[in-house]
């Protein structure tokens, strides 16, 4: 993945928070993640990538952030089911929007949501994983992009 493609993901994340909550997220400098030490928060939405690229994209956030996003979006049901739902939807939207950069052969799976910060997400072994740190209303979350040419 090159710098332009990484920047595309940064722009997509900023646009998502701005549009859904009215407050843009502060996105930190992306860095190369260590395979065994990637950030995992309370809820993680994982999207598998196939087609002209392969790998995965995941969005991981603490429950506190997800509750705030739901409230901003006018949702009153703040159950764990809805926290998982919004996590999967954010991951799906970010990965889907990346087709503008990667083209229509960038195929995305339906989201799989993993609950619990002690979980481990299995990543492709031979594709670098970039961590895009973000903060929204002083709450930290992460987007992890591990995508390479098929």
């Amino acid at each position: 993945m090159d710098e332009t493609q990484l920047k595309a993901f940064v722009g997509i994340v900023q646009n998502y928070f701005d549009k859904i909550t009215g407050n843009p997220a502060e996105v930190g400098t992306p860095f190369l993640g260590e395979p065994g030490d990637l950030p995992i928060h309370d809820f993680t939405g994982v999207i598998g990538i196939s087609g002209n690229q392969r790998g995965c994209v995941y969005f991981s956030a603490p429950a506190l952030m997800l509750r705030e996003i739901l409230l901003r979006a006018g949702e009153t049901d703040l159950s764990d089911g809805n926290l998982a739902d919004i996590t999967g939807e954010i991951a799906n939207t970010i990965a889907g929007n990346a087709r503008r950069e990667f083209g229509s052969e960038f195929l995305i799976s339906v989201p799989v949501v993993v609950r619990g910060s002690g979980q481990h997400i299995t990543m492709p072994k031979d594709v670098k994983a970039y961590v895009i740190p973000l903060r929204w209303r002083k709450i930290a979350a992460s987007l992890v992009v591990s995508v390479g040419k098929a």
Binding site: K19, I20, A73, E89, N97, R99, R100, S104
Partner: protein, 124 residues
């Protein structure tokens, strides 16, 4: 009052669309979490307007649009999807959708998109 069906695998998105489109005088007759469920609901409830996600389990939105259009060529379909590349939008329109709204969207954008869809339907 036109009948509306909402198909999206996210409960949050279904709720958001339902809230926003209640103001358009649409009567919600079905909420579907995947394409197969949407097709079954369509057969029983016969909505005149459908909002359709594309990335869904069981049956994706494109296949569902094709099957729904085969059952009723007059139905108005607004695709609401994160797959925001031009090729996908063109494919959805070719399969029989009349509008395409990118996710993420604001309620105002959704209102505008459905307003255009209904206006075209009134003039058509």
């Amino acid at each position: 009052m036109k009948k509306l069906m909402i198909a999206d695998d996210s409960n949050i998105v279904r709720s958001k669309i339902a809230r926003a489109l209640g103001q358009h005088g649409l009567h919600i007759v079905g909420l579907a979490a995947n394409g197969r469920e949407a097709l079954e609901l369509f057969k029983s409830a016969r909505p005149e307007v459908v909002t359709m996600d594309l990335t869904m389990p069981e049956m994706d939105g494109i296949e569902c649009i094709r099957k729904i259009r085969a059952l009723d060529p007059r139905v108005r379909i607004l695709v609401v999807s994160a797959l925001s590349d031009k090729a996908t939008a063109i494919q959805a329109l070719k399969e029989g959708a009349q509008g395409f709204l990118d996710k993420p969207f604001t309620e105002a954008e959704l209102s505008d998109a459905i307003g255009e869809l209904l206006e075209d339907s009134n003039h058509g």
